[in-house]
């Protein structure tokens, strides 16, 4: 069956289906129950599944992740909502020293099928700490998996796949795209969770993006096409581990690559991708891999976020620079 869904609603339906499929799935988070979450992603779920499966937690992110570890040890599959990206840090110790390491520490005896849902990124005119892009902090941490969705189809399937996945998954939701709509076939066979996907074919430059920036990259490709320039756009989807096979294939063809993300450029995902792609495609590259990202400043007050965030023009600017190199 095909439905026109926003990303937010697709997540809601995906969560619902995951909960129906597996009674061990427990949602935890601040305000996710009666309120349905500040973005309403869990709307109606507590009403239907009860307070034991959709848990309004105390206001403590370490508590959310730490008790999720214990629930996982008891055979549950906790799905933790972090209300905003900037509030994941109180839970950082549990995530980095426990969630990420327990499978290895126990030599595989203890599974950690925990999903950490984080609405991430900027562009919604919010106050401080509500627009962060913390993905690199997690991607640098062995033991975690990190994915970012960019559209309703991946939202619907991705959340279910993340929940069914045996390892801990940091699941990044592009909050400013929550209201973007798309057709979702709820009977289809989804793409694998951890695979990149070419979302637009092209020949001149390979543009990589994930989460909210996929739309931006596609807009840039559209605009470039009008000027006769052909961009290949790859939605990375998997941030850790990266799936660079289709990227390498693409860059070997185009010889040029631009990576786009909202996170600060320094040590953002673009750094890793540039290093890896340069190593894999050294003899094919006509230009260095160029990075378009947030500046190396704290996320600015919202009146400045349009200047801070990569947009279509900044992507095209990098494309120009890659072409001229």
């Amino acid at each position: 069956m095909t439905q026109l869904l926003t990303i937010g609603k697709a997540l809601n339906l995906g969560l619902r289906r995951a909960m129906e499929d597996d009674a061990k799935v427990v949602l935890m988070g601040e305000d996710i129950g009666r309120l349905g979450g500040v973005f309403r992603i869990t709307d109606g779920l507590q009403k239907d599944f009860g307070e034991d499966r959709v848990v309004d937690t105390p206001l403590a992110e370490a508590g959310i992740l730490g008790t999720a570890v214990g629930l996982a040890m008891r055979g549950y599959r906790p799905v933790c909502e972090i209300q905003f990206d900037g509030f994941v840090f109180p839970a950082y110790n549990q995530i980095v020293t426990q969630v990420a390491k327990i499978h290895a520490r126990s030599r595989g005896r203890l599974a950690m099928p925990i999903v950490i849902r984080i609405p991430f990124g900027g562009g919604i005119g919010a106050v401080e700490h509500h627009s962060e892009s913390p993905e690199a902090y997690f991607a640098h941490t062995p033991g975690l998996k990190v994915v970012a969705v960019s559209n309703p189809v991946d939202a619907y399937w991705g959340i279910q796949q993340a929940i069914a996945h045996p390892d801990p998954v940091v699941f990044l939701e592009p909050k400013r795209r929550y209201w973007d709509k798309g057709e979702v076939d709820t009977d289809a066979t989804p793409d694998p969770l951890l695979a990149a996907r070419v979302v637009r074919a092209g020949d001149d430059v390979t543009v990589l993006a994930y989460g909210p920036m996929v739309k931006t990259a596609l807009q840039a490709a559209e605009a470039a096409a009008e000027e006769g320039r052909s961009l290949e756009v790859v939605d990375l989807r998997a941030i850790s581990p990266l799936d660079l096979d289709p990227v390498v294939e693409s860059v070997r063809r185009t010889g040029r690559c631009v990576v786009v993300h909202e996170a600060p450029v320094t040590l953002g995902l673009g750094a890793e991708i540039a290093a890896r792609i340069t190593e894999s495609c050294f003899h094919s590259l006509e230009a260095p891999v160029l990075r378009v990202g947030g500046y190396d400043t704290p996320y600015p007050p919202s009146k400045l976020e349009e200047e801070y965030l990569p947009d279509l023009d900044r992507v095209l600017d990098a494309v120009d620079r890659a072409m001229e190199f």
């Binding site: 500040v38 309004d56 105390p58 206001l59 005119g125 400043t297 704290p298 600015p300 200047e307």
Partner: protein
Amino acid sequence: MRELASRPLSAAVSGMTTEVVDPVPGAGAPHLPRQTGLVQLLTPEGERVEHPDYAIDVTAEELRDLYRDLVLVRRWDVEATALQRQGELGIWASLLGQEAAQVGAGRALRPDDTAFPTYREHGVAWTRGVDPLHVISLFRGVDNGGWDPVATGFNLYTVVIGAQCLHATGYAMGLQRDGAESAALAFLGDGATSQGEVNEAMIWAASFSAPVVFFCQNNQYAISVPLERQSRVPLYQRAAGFGFPGVRVDGNDVLAVLAVTRAALAAAREGQGPTFIEAFTYRMGAHTTSDDPTRYRLASELEEWKLRDPIARVKAYLSRTGTADADFFADVEARADELAAHIRRGTTEMPDPPGTAMFDRVYAEQTPHLAAQQAQFEAYQAGFEGSHR
């Protein structure tokens, strides 16, 4: 579904047996006298009542000043909410219903004390002489903290729940080292009491006998989550477990809040260590302008709390006792109108910051790396000169 209506609200405000919990003898600082109820000095009906331990001597003028504060602060809040609705602010966190808690606490501070607010303490900001437009500029997205925290003794808003409690404690440790006779006042919400860092702050404050007072506005909710999820026992009792006194005050009674906070701050300044104050109050509005409280609480709850409005009771008292006359009330209204106009005009005329502002002040001195990024940014922006951007 949990029964909202069954919540014993009235009992909580009037009948509940609340006592200062004394730590074991010899440990901590049992400076606040034992009491036998929620501290209240002005009833919801505007009756002045006495409390054996919290006598307060306020002149008629002080009382009128407090009233004026309350009204102006509410007016500011109402105006800001309206401005948000009109698209002038990104968001607004309303203090509606918490005016007495904030004005009472703020007026208890001495000039050399320092307040460490959350994101809702506009009433305290007012008492510290912070220009409302500086607070509004944050919610408008112009900056992340527009006033001078040092000059005002009012630290910047802290959005990450509870983080400021440790800052206040550390600052208080600095006061100790300086031999200063001042105190730090940390604000927090009921929800914040669940954060590890907040509990660490109390542990540190106790361990070092730091001159800090934790002022918790228990407004019954952390966004949609009712107090019961954070604690099954009254919050003021938390302090005893850490070895210092906790006290519960009627947060809608500006006099009681003033008296209790003054006493706690005085004790802190005198080296008696921390106190935890639970100001029992109610968030009469939404959590922020983005919130819809009808999804999680009944209208009747709000109706009940309206009967305990923090401003009405002061007005009733002033009127009935003849402490203020019609002229005074008219004057206050006029000032409120002026303030509202100032806020409205100031907000709509507030200029956007230049794009380069984000490269400023990341560090004490701009690094070559950031200077290069700024130069790139400027060159890039210049490319659009004359175009639609």
